[in-house]
Amino acid sequence: MAVRRQTLVLLVLLAPVTLFLGVFFLLPLVIIALFSLLAPGLYGGVEWTFYHWNYGRIFGWADGLIEIYEPIYLQILGRSLGFAAMTVVLCLILCYPVAFWVSRLPSRWRLFFIFLITLPFFSSLIVRLYAWLLILKPSGLLNSVLMGMDLISQPLEILYTPAAVVLGMVYVMVPFMFLPLYSAVDNLDRALIEASMDLGATRVQTFLKVILPQTLPGILGGSVIVFIPSVGNFIVPDVLGGAKGLMIGNLVEQQFLSARNWPFGSALSMVVMTLVLVVLLTSMAAARRKGSQNA
């Protein structure tokens, strides 16, 4: 009888999440997959016929009549991956030394700087991007300052370039890289570093052979957390990027809100989703392998 009552409680506890995520998370994903294989309707919507040309347009097969293969889609996809990868690398380069620095501070200051890092997380994303719009504009703060110092004679064209997009993404993603890195660096046993130096390793050797491997899980975790939202991002390129800064997220948005080609938009999102899942599963497998090595 006790067992049956336990099962009942368990059911009550699990029912909300199962129903909610089943209907409003899994089902929509299934519908995207389904729509990506249907034909676009004439005035938006779909026709319920099997249609693989949506993928053909992206990956290089086309019927030559209505749907044309255009390499621009793969280019934009490649660009999105490139931007995301650059964002990850730049975040790492910025955060790693700072994480190290913060972890070596007296505890009062440590808490203060961690608070400073997490604070932007609480403030609006769009506000933070907007700030860069103000700074990078041709008549913006950066150009005003540089011209005022006579360093340049003409305003720099930074806004609406790929550089602006990557800068914006780095700015938005930095806290997500910092926290896992910090916890890895902070958990690092200092005796390990001292032992390595004591045994005759140089600073560089100690870093490469002790510190880096020990903090690898944090690096990996932070990279995944930064990479995934970066690939599919459409807000940052929308605000800071021009035509050359367009990413796959913007393509998807266009298909839904202006071109009204839902099946093609679904196919594009399937590509994003697949990319993300591949990255996620690979990194999880890598983390597990690393874990079993250590064990």
């Binding site: 409003f24 604070l119 700074i135």
Partner: protein, 278 residues
């Protein structure tokens, strides 16, 4: 082992890093008080006009030529703020219940699908929000649910539940299982133990999770952008629209208010955490 020169370089690098994070926010705050309406980056003199304008007050708003524009955008902005607060309030409540129930179920019961649920709950957080947004859009349109505040709330709950789950789960993991055993041992039924011991012990985690959910909901742009429909706008979507249409000086004022609010919320969160520590 500390090399003074290396340490100084590291300190300098770190301080520049923090400047990089905060300078843009300070720029906004500074220019929200700049009276130059044409080029905001040229400092004229100090003014509260943009803040007055937000509230439909002040000389600029009183100017009959300008009035219509300011009053309209003010009303729209306040409506967006109201929508944001209602959406965040309701979706925080719902996702806190869902996330907490799930965390308790996974931590305190043994069943076969446990591993599946643990992975499954990570997915909404890991899924790019654009995919989730268009997925929900197609779903609502296909099923025939009118896009409204309800669809925004549903959209938010799909990923907020996972955030609450993570935070509450971390709290349960740190809890001594003997606490619940002690309660049962002293004569409390499962339900009484839940009410008198487990929930109070989890309270800091639940509160922290709810706070996080509220902040994320208030800030969500992408999901809302797709499932809001035409009648409802949240504050981030409203500002996004303003930013897209071209920069207006009142944005600085709104943005400054939002930054200050977020500082307050973050401070509240920190205070909660320090209370949890004792």
């Amino acid at each position: 082992m500390r090399n003074p020169l290396g340490w100084a370089a590291l300190t300098l690098f770190s301080l520049v890093f923090f400047l990089f994070i905060y300078a843009p926010l300070l720029v906004i705050i500074g220019y929200s008080f700049n009276s130059n309406p044409v080029n905001m980056m040229q400092w004229e003199h100090f003014t509260f006009d943009w803040y007055r304008g937000l509230l439909g007050l002040g000389e600029r708003a009183a100017d009959p030529n300008n009035r219509a524009v300011y009053v309209e955008s003010t009303e729209k902005m306040l409506a967006a703020l109201r929508t944001s607060l209602m959406v965040a309030g309701l979706s925080t409540t719902i996702s806190t219940v869902i996330g907490t129930a799930t965390a308790i179920a996974l931590a305190r019961y043994r069943f076969r699908a446990k591993g599946f649920y643990n992975g499954f709950l990570m997915l909404p957080m890991m899924m790019p929000d654009i995919v989730l947004g268009i997925g929900l859009l197609i779903f609502f349109v296909t099923v025939g649910i009118h896009l409204s505040m309800l669809t925004i709330i549903i959209g938010h709950c799909t990923f907020l539940s996972s955030y609450v789950f993570i935070i509450v789960q971390a709290r349960i993991a740190g809890l001594d299982p003997a606490l619940e055993e002690a309660s049962a041992d002293l004569g409390a039924s499962e339900w009484v133990t839940l009410r008198k011991v487990l929930l109070p012990q989890l309270a800091p985690g639940i509160l922290g999770g709810a706070l996080l959910a509220f902040v994320i909901s208030m800030d969500d742009l992408v999901i809302t952008y797709f499932v809001a429909g035409t009648d409802n706008t949240t504050l981030p979507v409203f500002i996004f629209g303003m930013v897209r249409r071209g920069v207006k000086p009142e944005i600085n004022a709104i943005a400054t208010l939002m930054i200050l609010t977020s500082v307050l919320i973050a401070a509240l969160g920190l205070w909660l955490r320090s209370r949890k520590a004792d």
